[in-house]
């Protein structure tokens, strides 16, 4: 057992922290939230130069061959600073799916571009029905004349508006899990992308596919074999999201602790009030358990071990603990942090979006129940 980062990981963490502290002020975050694109090319290029995009991918395709645990460290720091942009969509949702399902040609072509920051990816799976399961996927891919034609609407597709490639989960048969994954050019005729206004500060899109033609060669993995791959990616994404919440928890805790050490009410530092102390103690307990649950699930993925139960335990715990932690931070900070200008609200918004993303606590508890043989 070892609860600390190794030397290499500490370096990753520190350099990510340093980079984001310099480049990703909350002014920048606010600006990017307003910005339609949601990030700057400069910021994106710098991350690419640091090798972040290629971090979890094999060296053969231009990646750094590092582990999911290492990726989680980057995501944690991004969460700490609310870093904007399609990094998560590209690397976690897109990249890991291609790595898992793609053939050699696809992997080499897509991931090598991804790794240098010249291709933005995303994943489209949710639809109107609001279901997280395979039955919710009803966008059809009809095979005709040696290609597929996709028709239907995907919702909540992150960063589709800036993506080069959308990986689309589409129905290719009537059995519940007959789902296939396709690499779709975001600029292909018939693809219509609309930004959805969302309170979390992220960029979620509606993507309408109107008889979009996709070549056979763009099938990722086996026809009808998409669901296990997708499920796998979504569980990894849940852990990645937890890593962001891990970082965000540290910042929300810091806001509160710094404040209670300087704010005076009733003639005393409010940090001396037992009630405030207890709120802060609970925040620290949430923060530590969030960190460990996330690290454990990430480690399982990194080690190539079965990770499904840990991933769901992680997302279930972190989703709620992080929300409660941010709530306590608000309670401790009082009216000051209810102001738009206080940065805690950025974290409050992202906390709820992260809680919902890739399944909320109830959803993942149900998965844990399944793993328990209930």
């Amino acid at each position: 057992m070892n609860y600390e980062l190794n030397e290499e990981q500490r370096i990753i963490k520190e350099s990510a922290n340093r980079f984001l502290a310099e480049t990703c002020s909350t002014d920048f975050v606010r600006e990017m939230t307003e910005d339609e694109k949601g990030f700057t090319q400069e910021f994106w290029n710098k991350m690419a130069e640091l090798g972040w995009m290629g971090l979890p991918f094999p060296e053969e395709v231009g990646g750094a061959g590092m582990s999911f645990s290492d990726l989680a460290i980057i995501l944690t720091e991004m969460g700490y600073f609310c870093a904007p942009g399609p990094f998560f969509s590209t690397v976690v949702l897109g990249g890991l799916t291609v790595l898992e399902a793609g053939n050699d040609e696809q992997k080499t072509r897509i991931l090598s571009e991804l790794a240098v920051g010249s291709r933005i990816l995303t994943l489209a799976w949710l639809e109107e029905g609001g279901s997280w399961g395979p039955k919710g996927i009803n966008l059809r891919a009809e095979s005709q004349d040696g290609e597929f034609a996709l028709s239907g609407t995907k919702l909540f597709v992150p960063d589709a508006h800036v993506a080069d490639t959308i990986i689309v989960a589409a129905r290719t048969g009537d059995a519940p899990e007959e789902i296939s994954l396709f690499e779709v050019d975001a600029n292909a005729p018939g693809v219509g992308i609309t930004l959805l206004e969302s309170f979390g500060g992220d960029k979620l899109c509606e993507v309408v596919f109107d008889n979009v033609k996709v070549p056979m060669a763009n099938l990722l993995g086996k026809a009808g074999g998409g669901w296990p791959v997708l499920n796998n990616t979504l569980l990894k994404a849940a852990v990645g999201k937890a890593a962001q919440m891990d970082g965000a928890s540290q910042m929300a805790l810091k806001f509160a602790v710094d404040y209670v050490k300087e704010r005076v009410q009733f003639g005393k530092l409010i940090g001396t009030f037992q009630a405030v102390q207890f709120h802060c103690a609970d925040m620290l307990t949430y923060a530590d358990t969030i960190h460990f649950m996330t690290s454990h699930a990430a480690w399982k993925i990194a080690e190539g071990l079965p990770f499904e139960e840990e991933a769901s335990m992680c997302k279930a715990w972190v989703s709620e603990a992080h929300r409660k932690l941010v709530g306590l931070s608000h309670q401790v900070l009082g009216g000051v942090a209810f102001m738009e200008e206080h940065d805690l609200q950025l974290y409050f918004r992202r906390a709820k979006a992260a809680e919902l993303a890739f399944g909320d606590a109830s959803f993942h508890r149900e998965k844990v129940a399944q793993a328990m043989g209930l």
């Binding site: 279901s131 979390g200 009030f273 309670q331 009216g335 942090a337 409050f348």
Partner: protein, 388 residues
């Protein structure tokens, strides 16, 4: 024990409901939104004056001051109705300043202010909080210096919701800086159009506006002093006992809408409402609303029977606001991904009401006395636990 409204009360409430249904125009809500989700513009005033013309703004005031002389219970019930449909709810003039004037103001002050207030003709905003004095009113810095016929006011207030549309500031200010804490504060009515008043908007994370108000050599006529000099803290506390009430029907309406959404939304081939976890969550909210309703009407009952609510008001505020947060969060959970879409989004559920309430709910347990302050009051006053 009796948990019903009288036939008379029911009849009046039916009229209120029907008024609220027909008179809450789109224009009213649009104006509100444009003013930073704050009532008080032209449409708002038109609405409230029409509403007040029935005596419903101050129903439990005596008829000579523009009321109907009804029970407090009815006044509480009317506010629930207003809350449910989402119209403005708390009127500083009618619900906070007015009663204090009635209790403690001079006859001149009563004659001048109460009728216009009861008719909804003047709007006040609350001016207690300062940057260093949030939960701790004893820490006020703003100074009013006696200049013979008037006071000269200098200082700053913060979190003055409604100040940018109100006519007057209901201001707590230090009038004796040498007095022991609590004993040097006075209440006065300040015309917000006075020279030297500078109102600067502050935007909250819920999207609505509140304000900082800066006072630079502002002259306040002495006649605007409320009651006795240096007795302000006592008046504020008294008003808290008499006037605190947190109708939760605004959030109650969200529960109803989320339940309706669950009934009419199908996920994986089954209505969301058939999901046992959704059922448990919504039922729990219904139950907590019911529990709050009792804490709420107990206050009215106490007022109607000549008792002074004390820790009971703190309990209701504490309970209501914590329920409010759970309701907003439950709404977000039930709506899932759709709940986070804002009003203008094509796929927004319930027109973005849930995420808006979720953001607003953050401040509920903070403003008007944090949950920590309320729990302290309940323990010290309700159970007489030792202070030291």
């Amino acid at each position: 024990m009796d948990f019903s409204f009288s036939a008379e009360e029911q009849k009046l409430l039916e009229e209120v409901r029907s008024f609220l249904k027909t008179e809450t125009s789109e224009a009213l809500f649009v104006e509100c939104e444009e003013l930073g989700h704050i009532y008080g513009g032209k449409e708002g005033r038109k609405f409230i004056q029409k509403f007040a013309s029935h005596g419903w703004l101050t129903p439990n005031w005596p008829p000579e001051y523009g009321g109907l002389g009804t029970s407090a219970t009815l006044a509480f019930a009317i506010r629930e109705e207003m809350a449910y449909v989402g119209t403005p709810l708390v009127f500083v003039a009618a619900h906070m300043a007015g009663p204090t004037i009635m209790h403690f103001g001079s006859q001149e002050m009563k004659d001048k202010w109460l009728l216009p207030i009861s008719r909804g003709e003047v709007e006040f905003c609350l001016g207690y909080t300062e940057p260093q004095a949030g939960s701790d009113l004893a820490a006020l810095n703003i100074r009013a210096v006696d200049k013979g016929d008037s006071f000269l006011l200098n200082g700053q207030k913060t979190f003055n919701t409604h100040a940018h549309v109100a006519d007057y500031h209901w201001l707590g200010t230090i009038t004796d800086p040498d007095a022991k804490k609590y004993r040097g504060m006075s209440l006065m009515i300040v015309d917000l159009k006075s020279p030297g008043v500078d109102i600067r908007p502050m935007v909250t994370m819920a999207g609505w506006q509140t304000n900082e108000v800066f006072y630079d050599d502002v002259i306040v006529p002495k006649e605007n002093l409320v009651g006795d000099l240096n007795a302000g803290f006592f008046y504020v506390m008294h008003a808290l006992d008499y006037e605190r009430m947190f109708p939760l029907a605004t959030y109650g309406s969200l529960v109803d809408e989320v339940a309706e959404y669950a009934r009419t939304t199908t996920v994986d081939g089954e209505p969301l409402a058939k999901n046992p976890i959704v059922r448990q969550k919504l039922a729990q909210m219904k139950i907590e609303l019911a529990a709050n309703r009792h804490l709420y009407y107990r206050l009215a009952h106490m007022l109607d029977t000549g008792q002074v609510p004390n820790y009971q008001a703190s309990m209701q505020k504490l309970f209501a606001t914590e329920v409010a947060q759970r309701i907003a969060n439950t709404g977000m959970e039930v709506l899932g991904m759709f709940g986070q879409l804002t009003k203008d989004s094509k796929w927004a559920a319930l027109a973005g009401k849930t995420e808006r309430f979720y953001r607003t709910s953050v401040v509920e347990t903070i403003y008007a006395g944090t949950s920590e302050v309320q729990r302290g009051i309940i323990a010290l006053r309700g159970l007489e636990l030792p202070r030291k």
